[in-house]
């Protein structure tokens, strides 16, 4: 099958063969085996399908694969280096900011994007960065604490 969409995922060029109208979340999971991006609602509500496209967060259940032609897509598997947690990942770990982890793609990537955009992001901005993410385990406060702790770490570097 000839590739429909040429894109970059987690730093590697890929040729996607799924039909271009396929939701990006499904292509990442089914064609590329990147199952860290989760599907909770297919309605744009829960945020568990969040990915970064050109560094900005999007709900990938709403993005047709064709839209990421020649874009840079980063999933939760693609932040940081192999074997080394980013400051945000380390902060989530230290703060026990996730339990089942279903929401993690959303919460972690949104915190990452917010701090990449502005390491001096305020608590209000870091909370707003999470506004599109639902966590059924109720981790909201811990998630924000982790983001704040990561901000501190990044400012110290």
């Amino acid at each position: 099958m000839s590739p429909e969409v040429m894109t970059t995922v987690n730093g590697k060029p890929v040729a996607l063969t799924a039909p271009a109208a396929t939701p990006l979340a499904d292509v990442l999971r089914d064609e590329l085996g990147l199952t860290g991006t989760h599907l909770g609602c297919r309605n744009g509500d829960c945020g568990a399908c969040t990915v970064l496209i050109d560094g900005r967060p999007f709900k990938s259940c709403l993005v047709p694969a064709g839209r990421v032609r020649q874009r840079d897509v980063r999933t939760i598997e693609g932040i940081g280096e192999e074997g080394e947690l980013t400051a945000v990942q380390q902060a989530f770990w230290d703060a026990n900011a996730f339990q089942c982890g279903f929401c993690l793609a959303g919460t972690l990537l949104c915190a990452t994007a917010a701090l990449d955009h502005d390491p001096n992001a305020t608590e209000e901005e870091l909370a707003d960065a999470q506004a599109g993410n639902l966590c059924r385990c109720g981790g909201y406060r811990k998630i924000l604490e982790a983001a704040l702790a990561a901000a501190q770490t990044l400012r110290r570097r």
Partner: protein, 297 residues
């Protein structure tokens, strides 16, 4: 964005993969020509926040998906000769920019769905979907916006009031694409207030207040999310306007709004009776918001 019928009727059968054919035109005339080939069988994509869920549930089965994301110019905000033009695929994130009207910045900040949805949802999409429980159409109505609809070789503009004709109903015709929204510059003060059940809820009601600076300080309140279509109500008040409404002025505002006889909207979020009652309060708050704020740009 969807083409004219939003009642979930089945359209042309999808491609053999089970997915619609994906079309991503690189300019507007291509987009219009592609749409014209099969308008009834084509769903138009702004941000995807409405169409993609409908594809997922099977509420809509278009044979083709026409994605406007790659059409240059549609995603821009431009200002020229006393008019600001929002391209149809301008996102809420773009509306947070400095050169955008403060009322629209305020609406964009409050959009449900987080930074992700702000990156994805579009002005054109919100208008074409015309969900009564929406923020943006009311704000655009309050600003006196006009929408531009194009088909190959023809273009027309409509006021918001003429474009949004009912719940989920617009005046867009098959084969047309909403390409831009024009906002005339004006020198008025604006206030805006929105209520919703919780952070991740659609709005229950929004009110945008416009207070003219000239002469008698004419006040117009535009309701959204609580009525079948954005509804503008003129308010006549006695006495001067101070830093906030006086108690007796507030009563007049609330009573005028409740009596305005709009088509109150009922859905799973709230009854019509509740929305009518709450809109009286919101109108007061929106006017106070305008009185309290800095002068508009």
């Amino acid at each position: 964005m969807t083409s004219a019928a939003t009642d979930g009727t089945t359209r042309a059968a999808p491609a053999t993969s089970g997915r619609p054919v994906y079309l991503a035109p690189l300019d507007l005339s291509d987009a219009l020509a592609m749409l014209a080939e099969d308008a009834a069988g084509t769903a138009i994509l702004g941000g995807g926040t409405v169409v993609m869920p409908r594809l997922a549930t099977g509420a809509e089965r278009p044979g083709r998906l026409l994605d406007l994301a790659a059409v240059p110019g549609l995603a821009d905000v431009t200002t020229a000769g006393g008019t600001s033009t929002l391209g149809a695929t301008v996102t809420y994130a773009t509306l947070l920019g400095r050169s955008v009207h403060p009322l629209l910045r305020q609406v964009a900040r409050g959009i449900t769905g987080g930074p992700q949805i702000r990156n994805q949802g579009t002005v054109g999409g919100s208008l074409c979907h015309a969900n009564p429980a929406s923020d943006l159409p009311a704000a655009l109505a309050a600003l006196g916006a006009r929408v531009t609809l194009e088909r190959p070789g023809a273009r027309r503009t409509l006021s918001l009031a003429d474009f949004v004709v009912g719940p989920y109903q617009t005046a867009i015709a098959p084969g047309e694409i909403l390409t831009a929204v024009e906002i005339p510059d004006g020198d008025a003060r604006y206030g805006y207030v929105k209520i919703k059940h919780g952070h991740s809820s659609w709005p229950l009601a929004v009110a945008a207040a416009r207070i003219s600076r000239a002469g008698r300080h004419a006040i117009t309140v535009t309701l959204g999310a609580a009525v079948t279509r954005p509804t503008s109500i003129e308010i006549n008040l006695d006495g001067e306007l101070g830093a906030s409404l006086t108690p007796s002025q507030a009563v007049v505002v609330a009573e005028t709004v409740r009596a305005a006889g709009g088509d109150w909207w009922a859905d799973e979020l709230a009854t019509a009776r509740y929305r009518r009652r709450v809109c009286g309060v919101l109108a007061v708050r929106a006017i106070d918001d305008a009185l309290r704020k800095e002068p508009s740009a």
